[in-house]
Symmetry: none
Subunit: 226 residues, 4 copies
DNA sequence: CATGAATGAGACTTCATTCAT
DNA sequence: TATGAATGAAGTCTCATTCAT
């Protein structure tokens, strides 16, 4: 009943296929969003046919979830490890963490994930739970934990730690969001702010505000003491 | 025994139709995203038939753009006016502006627009230009202008003003974003941070970092004095 | 995003559509079976487009069930009514019933339904229940009830009534089955048996076997008494 | 330390492969029908891979035809042989034949074949010819031949022999059909009729109707004597 | 011979859009 | 204007079949 025709050379790469498909899907989902990405396009970009995609992921939705998992699950672990081994001041730890995050994530297509997730969670209840548990909660714990550490050690003023964590993280993620939305549009490729300047400014302002008193030797801080 | 027709009611609604359609579309686009919102559902929520929707907007895309324009065009004007008439310190102006924005926008379904726009700009190039011109640029000018004013008046340390504007705005918008994505999922209705706390903390930290020296006690600031 | 083109005249016939679709579906399901019938073909035969079919029936499966219901639900009621109003002998009643059934059903495309149902029930558990309740059980009750009546009135020998009902009905339905399968193939259009002969023979043999003694005046019975 | 290969086991099975494939296909076709049976599942049930199936049968259609041929070709031969060697009365011969058929076929998954064939012949014209030639015609000849024999020998009344053959065979096949459709559904495992009762009743009724006079007590007959 | 990864035609279904009423 | 029945392009997913290993 079907009338198949002989085709081009086919390659057998069971081991590497999932990664190739995940990479293709990541790029397209970030570019077009979940709904606007056609599964056949994902397959083509991965260099396989439509059917092959479904050999590895039973539906577009599962593919999406796999992309999210693959790109997010390892991130927090790294942050926690970095924080655990750190021996300097809490300010330095936060600065180090944020710069590292930007290099490892913010700069990377993986950062676009957050854009899609924000846009699509309401249509994927399961994903909401997963992403909260796997990404948002741990990130919050990581940052507010360090803030708490700073308070406990007398480095920081006592403040609501979760709010501080939000204020710390938000500008960075928001910048990543914009780089994957407006920043990717041809018109405004030259954003008025670049990441490095923003990060330095952010650390200067917020860490400065956090510290009990601004000590002399930190170059990033221009705070004058009373 | 002619059946009396509700001509008057229909007549009265005729002028409000576009607004009703835009409201319905706004709610649905924010809830489900652009692609997942069916035009029939927009019509039904506005109390009209599918055909009527197309009488007012020639396509779903145009409806989407109209929703974005309607909800974004007027916002910045208010801010600019507020800023122009303000006579207090730049810190107070920023605090006032941000609190006002949160009340007028961040708390409002209109804030969800930003979520969709971020998700969809790359599929709607025309929107990118419009949104940049109408929303992003003016907001940046508004905030960085005030920062510049503060610097000029000797209130603030000299800093890269665009970066500062970003750091000021980002946590607020990011919070609004999350309230329209994860915050709307049944699981996490009790976010670890509430808007008021976050805003107060943000103003405390960033304004504190901005100011040349810690001046007399400001209400928004919990800074410890020497 | 969609690019629709203007097309032919479209007719609005909401009232008659379901029947037209059901008729088209019946014909095709009987001819090709459920799986081999494409929904687009059903639509085309009904003179509408693919989409219109789904306006009335949410899936091919539901269309199938609707076809079964439509064609079967009324049949048994007629039989019961006929039986209720009958005043002659049980033999005559059975003969009348079977000839009527053949005219009303066996000769009709609706008889092909049984073919599809037999072929597909195992893939449609809900249908099994429905069909048993609506068709098989009532038919069995109808026929075995009459046989019981004959026994009670001393017309028939005591026998297992359900088995007798099966023996009565089976040759007729089986003939209908074959007319919709082999009988529809071009090669054997001239079956060695025609319905009329079969029916007469069947009544002669089985009714003759049923009766306590073969009385003289019934032409259909040639039974000699011991 | 070479790993010993189970060459022998594979070798041994090589000759039985076709049979194993046919058995697997038979079971699945009967259970799900032709279209709903996936070729991969046939292969798995036969313990081989998808590719191997196509080594033996070039397509699913050919596999189907092979299943039909395999299960139907030999059946009639037995019947003919039995009939040829039989020396008793025609009634006894018919009774013996039908009971044998039920044991050898009606009770067997092979009987389910008839169900699929009825459902699919119109999609497989070649099968129609084959099945008519190999199954229907011989069966008809076998049974109507015996009836003719009975008439010739004065045992039976003169009657249209093909019609009588139909009436004889139909209830049995119809019962087999139902056992493979409704009978296989979990709901009605307790059919109101069992095969044995039906067969006895059928022989009693029809043979009784056929015979010129009720002869001496036949084992299969429960006819009441005068 | 055997395997199973890969293919792609084709089926079902959705939904933006049209247009007769 | 307003309606909603009708349309058909397009997308998701299945599965018979192929072929490199």
């Amino acid at each position: 009943m079907a009338t198949p025709k002989p085709e081009h050379a086919r390659q057998r790469r069971k081991e590497t296929r999932p990664q190739e498909l995940l990479d293709a899907a990541l790029a397209l989902f970030v570019e077009k969003g979940f709904a606007a990405t056609r599964s056949e396009e994902v397959a083509r970009r991965a260099g396989v046919s439509k059917g092959t995609l479904y050999l590895y992921y039973p539906s577009k939705e599962e593919l999406f979830k796999a992309v999210v998992r693959q790109n997010m699950s390892s991130l927090i672990a790294e942050g926690l490890e970095l924080a655990g081994n750190f021996s300097g001041s809490s300010s330095e730890l936060l600065g180090c963490l944020m710069r590292t995050w930007w290099e490892r994530v913010g700069n990377t297509p993986a950062a676009g994930i957050h854009k899609i997730v924000i846009a699509e969670v309401r249509n994927f209840p399961e994903l909401a739970q997963f992403y909260s548990d796997e990404v948002i909660e741990p990130a919050d714990r990581l940052f507010s934990g360090i803030v708490q550490r700073g308070i406990d050690r007398g480095e920081f003023r006592p403040m609501p730690v979760h709010a501080v964590a939000h204020v710390l993280i938000a500008p960075m993620i928001f910048l990543a969001l914009h780089q994957h939305s407006f920043g990717a549009c041809p018109m405004n490729e030259d954003s008025p702010i670049d990441a490095e300047t923003m990060l330095t400014t952010q650390l200067d302002l917020v860490l400065g505000g956090l510290e009990v008193r601004a000590p002399a030797p930190r170059p990033a801080s221009h705070r004058v003491r009373a």
